[in-house]
Amino acid sequence: MPWWGKYRDFLIIGAVVLIILILMGVNFSGRTDIPGMEFISGTLIKPVSSALYELGGSFSNFVYSIRDIGNLKSENERLKILEEDYDDLKLQAEKLKQENERLKNLLAYKEANPHYDMIGAKVIGKSSGGWFNIFAIDVGKGSGIEEGMAVVTDKGLVGTVIEAYDQWSKVLSIIDENSSVSIRINRTRDNGILHGDVDLKVQGLARAVYLPMTSDVKPGDDVVTSGLGGVFPEGIYIGKVINVENSHGDLYKTVIIKPDADFQRLEDVLVIKTYNYKIDMGKVGGQ
């Protein structure tokens, strides 16, 4: 037996770890496509994960509905009253329908000058545990998705695409600690940076820093993206300020923001497609 025979097992595991570390370094310094990976992730795993994610959603609804059985009696009473209102509403609905028809025409006019081109996507999975807030969606390069695009729901901004593959993409949500979004308080026009925070993200909150000391931001103010830096379009709604932290000695104000989107139960999202406008900082004169 050669001298290293005694350590053979450890040499093998050491080699394996070394290979993973090299792959990690290659991956971190610049994305390289691992052959066959697209097939495995897109064709084999995506359908399973996608189906199970829907199952998970309905399971969670089921659990919630069981909890609601106790409320059925009062619910019934309430519904009887509602039914009387129903006839009135029916008339109103007819009226609104016509109004809707008119507004649609207006909208068609507005859509002649489109702001953003959006594409719908379904969430197919989420990182478990609290380590990383990353989720996967079922559209990718094949549908024109690229890295850096903003992901929104009807409630507002939820994240940004960090990696795009042919049939799916990886999205970093805005409450992750590694995510930074340039924001603006809509009423006072103050700019700041929204960061995720380890202990706040559990409650679905995030923290915005670098707001000027002179700002009179108050709880309840609306927060939108500022468009600075060119990653996100301007004016996407994020959420509301719920708390202003103002300690002595700070050079800037810090506020706690509650995004409107429910990061625990994301199902359908929209990706803003056309806006992929990256400023080349080298040309502008920065670093």
Binding site: M24, L55, A136
Partner: protein, 169 residues
């Protein structure tokens, strides 16, 4: 051969459950790591090499989909699978307390490595907060699950369908 195909499918199933169903059931961002549990049990029962391979498969799956940079989960699960199999060579394998020990150590190990890599990649990471809010509850949860299910996992491992007839590792 059939044994390894079935175990691979089980791993993919565990992965899908962990990332598609458990997030809906998690409270305060804490959900059990059933891949770690699966690797621990199969590594203790089948030895270091199988543990290493299963760990590698699970780690690559997690890395492809849900980690910011490739390799975090691969390193954790591969080394965990290997050392769980190696250290448990000389112990009584059917004892659930042994599995409990390995799973709790493994959860803490996973937490420490992720924290270490996060700091290395200049993420913001609050060490004490991570210990209290993530590592501790997850270890306890994983421990409870392996303690309750270890008997079934042993039976699963001994099923005629996936029983090992000759060693290739």
């Amino acid at each position: 051969m059939r044994r390894y195909v079935i175990i691979l499918l089980l791993l993919v199933l565990c992965f899908a459950i962990q990332t598609a169903i458990l997030p809906f059931l998690s409270i305060y961002n804490i959900s059990p790591d059933i891949l770690l549990i699966f690797i621990a049990a199969f590594s203790i029962l089948n030895g270091q090499w199988e543990g290493m391979i299963y760990g590698m498969i699970a780690g690559v799956l997690m890395d492809l989909f849900y980690s910011p940079v490739f390799g975090i989960y691969s390193i954790i699960y591969t080394t965990f699978g290997f050392f769980a199999g190696r250290i448990s060579k000389n112990i009584f394998k059917e004892n659930p307390f042994a599995a409990l020990f390995f799973v709790i150590i493994g959860s803490v190990y996973k937490g420490i490595i992720i924290l270490f890599i996060k700091i290395l990649l200049s993420y913001k990471a609050d060490i004490w907060m991570s210990f209290l809010a993530l590592i501790l509850p997850e270890s306890v949860l994983n421990g409870i699950i392996i303690f309750l299910t270890y008997g079934y996992l042993i039976r699963l491992n001994n099923l005629a369908l996936i029983k090992k007839n000759k060693t290739i590792f």
